[in-house]
């Protein structure tokens, strides 16, 4: 009797499991089609000679050798690391500062939060085109108009190899820093206010409270956002594509942009494009692994 019962329950469970899987199935199929399969496919494709959408011949690592052998690859790789460097320099501390500032305000706090977040809502493509008018080298470029008021002669910006990457990062920071600041603000708001009061009673100055209470409270969050920022800036693509087409003389060409050029820039060389994608993925995986290694090590100490 007991056995039959548990048999029935087990059969019932199995039927319920089946129903649950059926409910999840559409989502799983879509994830497979749009995310998981393309990821594996790009590894496979990078090993093939392709013609249009056909995989013609297995050629081992030849795509990689040919891609990496070209000077535009070395340039794109260096540039991509330069993007990352400038993004950390300009875009990492700024949101923390903004969060600290806006977090201290009382009147107008809602307004400041809104103003900070607004650029993040705007379409990325529209933002790039809008800023291209700011950095135009003509006399009618917005920055030149403003500088002329200070008596500075007309300058060029996007045609200077050493300026173009910092400019693109500045634009990306303009769009994203406010939204990141709101994330930091939420993290800072989780500090128990009694801590500040206790510290104040013990005679801690405002600055000491910032250094010893506020900043430690966002340390972990900052680590997470740092790695996310690196991952996202490493894939920078449409910004230089639209703003400079990778120029001047490939000075702003990024790795992902190189991938796009191979695939959709006329030659339709999907195999080589996939090789670039695999290289980018590999670099990102290594960086994520290094991050989580140090992250775990650090939390061991806590």
């Amino acid at each position: 009797m007991k056995n039959r019962n548990s048999d029935l329950i087990r059969r019932g469970r199995r039927r319920e499991d089946l129903k649950a899987w059926l409910i999840m199935l559409p989502g799983i199929l879509l994830m497979t089609f749009f995310v998981w399969e393309p990821l594996l496919e790009s590894i496979r494709m990078s090993l093939y000679k392709t013609e249009n959408v056909e995989l013609v011949k297995f050629i081992g690592l030849k795509n990689f050798i040919s891609v990496m052998g070209k000077s535009n690859f070395t340039q794109a790789l260096t540039n991509t690391f330069a993007y990352t460097f400038w993004s950390l320099l300009i875009g990492f501390v700024l949101p923390i500062l903004l969060a600290m500032l806006v977090g201290e305000t009382v009147r107008g706090k809602g307004f400041f939060r809104t103003a900070a977040y607004l650029p993040n809502m705007l379409p990325g493509l529209a933002v790039i085109i809008l800023w291209s008018a700011f950095f135009s080298g003509e006399k009618s470029g917005v920055l030149n108009i403003l500088l002329a008021k200070l008596g500075v002669p007309t300058q060029t910006y996007l045609t200077r190899a050493n300026l173009v990457i910092p400019i693109i990062i500045t634009i990306a920071t303009w769009k994203g820093a406010g939204a990141t600041a709101l994330i930091y603000m939420a993290g800072m708001a989780s500090v128990n206010p009694e801590l500040y009061e206790a510290a104040a009673i013990d005679g801690a100055s405002v600055w000491q409270r910032v250094v010893h209470i506020l900043l430690p409270s966002i340390k972990k969050l900052a680590g997470t956002l740092l790695i996310l920022q690196i991952i996202s800036v490493f894939q920078i693509m449409y910004e230089p594509m639209v703003l400079t087409k990778g120029g001047p003389d490939n000075a702003s060409l990024s790795l992902m942009q190189l991938m796009w050029q191979y695939a959709f820039g006329g030659s339709m060389d999907y195999g080589k494009a996939s090789a670039v994608a695999v290289i980018v993925t590999a670099i990102l995986l290594v960086m994520t692994a290094v991050y989580s290694y140090f992250n775990n090590k650090e939390s061991d100490w806590d």
């Binding site: 989502g27 790009s42 009147r107 939420a186 994608a277």
Partner: protein, 289 residues
């Protein structure tokens, strides 16, 4: 001064000190500078839209000569942006529906139904969060071509049904729901699907709102996959048109700026309506849309 208590590091009792008061003034000053930086480019692009081509390329004044809306009307009709707006609207609506249903059901399965073996799917979804979407755009585009789905909204809609971030948001929310209610509906004889539509969804309005806002904005702003799928056809969205303008340079600079203004209007309207949800959920709903 204000009656609201200070909630940051600086407390009301600190305001006795002159240096803290000066510092507090500086903080407000810097916040105003930030606001100007955030809003000035937007204001400028609208002003620039009033200029005609000659004025746009030669004038060294930030203000236009006249505030006549005629150039906007001309750009709108010349480029036939009405049709692109309609296309964008169709693309956005389908994307939001897919984002809610498919990611919601997957999240429901992982968070509440938990069939045997669903841990693998959960881990795969979490891993996909780390993988950049554009990295596999080439094979994805090839898949779409192989299935002859080019020049159709279908692949774009469905791509929003496969968003790891939305799934994770749903999972987190569903896990916080009172399990007793779901259990009760099951005992009352509801099928899992009935439970989802009659119990879970009505309780999940906040997260559905967040995912919808993100999906609306993302679908409106998206142009890489839409460009590949829709280029050259009748179904081009506003952003695809803008992308084509910018890469092929077929329109004048002043027309370009007016197109930029047109492409920004819907997101700004969305922002004005939902600014509270957006600025409050930006953190919990994580890392940028």
């Amino acid at each position: 001064m204000s009656k609201l208590p200070r909630t940051g590091v600086i407390r009301d009792y600190d305001m006795h000190s002159l240096s803290v008061r000066i510092g507090y003034g500086v903080i407000y000053g810097l916040c105003l500078v930030m606001t100007v930086f955030a809003l000035f480019p937007l204001l400028w692009v609208v002003l620039a839209g009033f200029k005609d081509l000659k004025e746009f390329v030669s004038s060294t004044s930030l203000l236009p000569r006249s505030f006549d809306l005629a150039p906007f009307a001309k750009t709108w009709s010349q480029l036939g942006l009405g049709k692109n707006y309609l296309n964008s609207l169709i693309s956005v609506i389908g994307s939001v529906v897919c984002a809610l249903i498919f990611n919601g059901l997957l999240g429901y399965g992982i968070a509440i139904l938990r069939p045997k073996g669903c841990g693998v799917i959960k881990r795969l979804v979490l891993l996909s969060l780390l993988v950049p979407a554009t990295i596999s755009i080439v094979p994805l585009f090839m898949n779409i071509q192989r299935l002859k789905l080019g020049n159709s909204f279908l692949p774009l809609w469905l791509s929003y049904g496969a968003n790891a971030m939305y799934v994770v948001l749903f999972i987190q929310f569903f896990e916080s729901l009172p399990y007793s209610m779901i259990e009760a509906s099951r005992i009352d004889g509801c099928s899992p699907l009935q439970t989802f539509f009659h119990i879970v969804l009505p309780l999940s309005k906040p997260i559905c709102a967040v995912v919808s806002i993100f999906a609306i904005n993302a679908a409106w702003s998206d142009f890489l996959l839409p460009y590949l799928v829709l280029r050259g056809g009748e179904l081009q969205t506003v952003m695809v048109r803008l992308f084509v303008f910018s890469t092929e340079q077929t329109v004048n600079a002043d027309t370009m700026m007016r197109s930029v203004v047109f492409s920004m209007i819907p997101p700004i309207i969305l922002f004005v309506i939902f600014q509270k949800q957006l600025t409050e959920n930006a953190a919990s709903a994580g890392i940028k849309g």
